[in-house]
């Protein structure tokens, strides 16, 4: 790794350490005990870091894969599948035999199901697989949304609040086992992402150019989708649909660091972690003791930022 790349990553890692430290020091309890900090704040902060990293890395991968710097990790429908699974588990019960573990499990299964569908599309894709992927994703999301409405209508009131929170996305306290599972899945996804980061530079040139330069594009694409599915599935299954992280973090990093994915992929992981840890800290204190769902905050900030970025992007295009 070149020296400047390493320097950037070290800086981001330091920023993450600071963000985590602040997150541990801040909260609605006035005189927090050690127990509160270690048992409640620390797991939450770690989860925020993992989810943020997962979403941002997945966003970076998909933006390259789809050759669209403003693509969102939710655009391919993987999140739709996860959300549908989560809502189904939440709204229709399912706490029966698996207890609290039911929701993340079913949500992850939903994410995998959606990914398999995309995998099939990607494998069959001819000259414009990016378009087929996008279209499939849009349709699948619409389909999942309608099923979510069905499930929510059938649910009774007490569950609806939970479903709402799920759909807008929030960080909560999870059991250590679940946290470890998320960490493992994220590590696998990140491993795949780092392995193929260089290939992304080539795929970003276009599928044929990448092919001309020696990349087995269908092979790489499948692996990238797998890594993306793992990270999005793991993130959404525990925290619901937190928006804008996967869209904005990699895009903004590209604006300041360039488009070399050997840097952008790890930088997105770190940057996403920082972003979400900070957002979650704010979400916890802004309306204390009530906790704002972090997805509401990311949408509040992310919406206008996205519009600004979009304007810049459009202005950049040749007349």
């Amino acid at each position: 790794m070149t020296r400047s790349r390493a320097a950037v990553l070290v800086t981001l890692a330091l920023a993450l350490a600071v963000a985590l430290a602040v997150s541990l020091l801040v909260g609605s309890a006035e005189n927090p005990t050690r127990e509160i900090v270690l048992e409640i704040r620390l797991p939450r902060a770690l989860l925020a870091a993992l989810v943020g990293a997962g979403l941002a890395t997945a966003g970076a991968l998909l933006q390259a894969l789809l050759q669209n710097p403003l693509a969102d990790p939710y655009v391919l429908g993987i999140s739709g599948g996860a959300a549908l699974g989560g809502v189904a588990a939440l709204a229709l019960g399912g706490g029966v035999w698996l207890g609290a573990g039911a929701v993340p499990l079913v949500a992850f299964a939903g994410a995998l199901g959606a990914s398999l569908l995309l995998y099939a599309i990607a494998a069959a894709g001819g000259r414009a697989p990016a378009h087929s992927l996008l279209l499939t994703g849009v349709v699948f999301n619409a389909f999942a949304s309608s099923l979510i409405v069905f499930a929510t209508s059938a649910a009774d009131l007490a569950r609806v609040a939970g479903v709402f929170l799920w759909l807008i996305g929030s960080i909560r306290l999870v059991e250590p086992a679940l946290l470890a599972a998320v960490a493992l899945l994220f590590a696998l996804g990140l491993g795949i992402a780092l392995r193929f980061a260089y290939s992304l530079n080539l795929i970003a040139q276009g599928d044929e150019t990448a092919s001309h330069l020696g990349v087995d594009v269908p092979f790489v694409r499948r692996w990238i989708l797998a890594g993306t599915a793992l990270m999005i599935g793991a993130s959404v299954s525990v925290s619901g649909l937190i928006g804008f992280v996967g869209l904005i973090v990699p895009h903004v990093l590209r604006l300041s660091l360039g488009s070399d994915h050997r840097l952008i992929v790890p930088a997105s992981a770190l940057g996403g972690a920082v972003f979400l840890v900070v957002a979650d800290t704010l979400a916890r204190v802004v309306l204390a003791p009530t906790e704002l769902p972090v997805g509401a905050l990311t949408a509040l900030v992310g919406g206008p930022v996205f519009l600004v970025l979009l304007r810049r992007e459009l202005a950049r295009l040749p007349a």
Binding site: Y198, S199, V215
Partner: protein, 262 residues
């Protein structure tokens, strides 16, 4: 002598539309072969088949004597460079980054560049005279400058066989001439090199090609030295254009289109 790249009986259709009907083509070492023809003649499809990214319905393409399907994409890229038409680039890579990508077929899985890779990249930038553009973002360049970057990338790749798709499209006279002249020079700098390019530009093709292959409606209408291929009858037949063919004092063919026939 084995051809560098060869096509035998290549045929392909898109849907119900036959685009190539049994084309034979060979690129011999030391030669500049130009494939020309009207729009829709199948030139780009042929090029993609030769590059190994399109699998034709019929016929065979071989690279260095072996069927191209027997090579992996990486192995192909270590022998053959393809210079595409521009294409839109969604990400603002710098010129240096673009050229450095030419080393991709030789890098390990994480894309670590050795000192040799860096040297070749810098040498390519110098050879195409784009050193001062190195830090500029590729999408901000003019058409001619972009073409030089793509040529530099192929040069950095360091292989002996080049396929080019419309290298002078959208380029002004000066850049077009530079491009062809540069290719000729590169070709003669070392034995065993070969260039095959597809173009619309008959004027430059006639001037620089060793062999001209005229493609019309998916088949080879004529092949040979430009002087032999470019006759008034042939141009009328293939392009529907009445043209005057002349020779300059050095014996090079000059084509002057006069008017449309059909």
């Amino acid at each position: 002598m084995t051809a560098l790249v060869e096509a035998r009986g290549v045929a392909h259709r898109f849907g119900a539309n036959p685009v190539l009907r049994g084309v034979d083509l060979a690129l011999a070492p030391g030669k500049l072969v130009v494939v020309a023809g009207p729009n829709g003649a199948g030139k780009t499809t042929l090029l993609r088949a030769l590059a190994g990214v399109l699998r034709p319905d019929a016929g065979e393409v071989s690279l260095a004597g072996r069927a191209i399907t027997d090579w992996s994409r990486r192995e192909v890229a270590q022998r053959l460079a393809v210079v595409p038409q521009e294409g839109a680039l969604a990400f603002p890579f710098s010129v240096r980054e673009m050229v450095a990508l030419g080393r991709a077929p030789f890098l390990g899985p994480f894309g670590r560049e050795s000192a040799d890779d860096v040297t070749r990249t810098e040498a390519a930038l110098a050879a195409l005279e784009i050193r001062e553009l190195a830090e500029r973002a590729y999408p901000t360049l003019s058409g001619g400058e972009k073409r030089r970057v793509l040529l530099a990338r192929a040069l950095a790749q360091g292989v002996d066989m080049w396929l080019l798709d419309e290298p002078t499209a959208h380029m002004d006279l000066g850049h077009g001439l530079f491009c062809f002249a540069w290719l000729r020079e590169w070709l003669s700098a070392s034995p065993g090199r070969g260039v095959l390019l597809v173009t619309h530009d008959l004027v430059l093709a006639a001037r620089f090609a060793d062999e001209l292959v005229l493609l019309a409606r998916g088949s080879v209408a004529a092949r040979g030295a430009p002087a032999d291929v470019l006759t008034a009858e042939r141009l009328a037949d293939v392009y529907g254009v009445e043209a005057r063919i002349e020779r300059d004092p050095a014996g090079r063919v000059l084509v002057s289109p006069l008017r449309a026939i059909r």
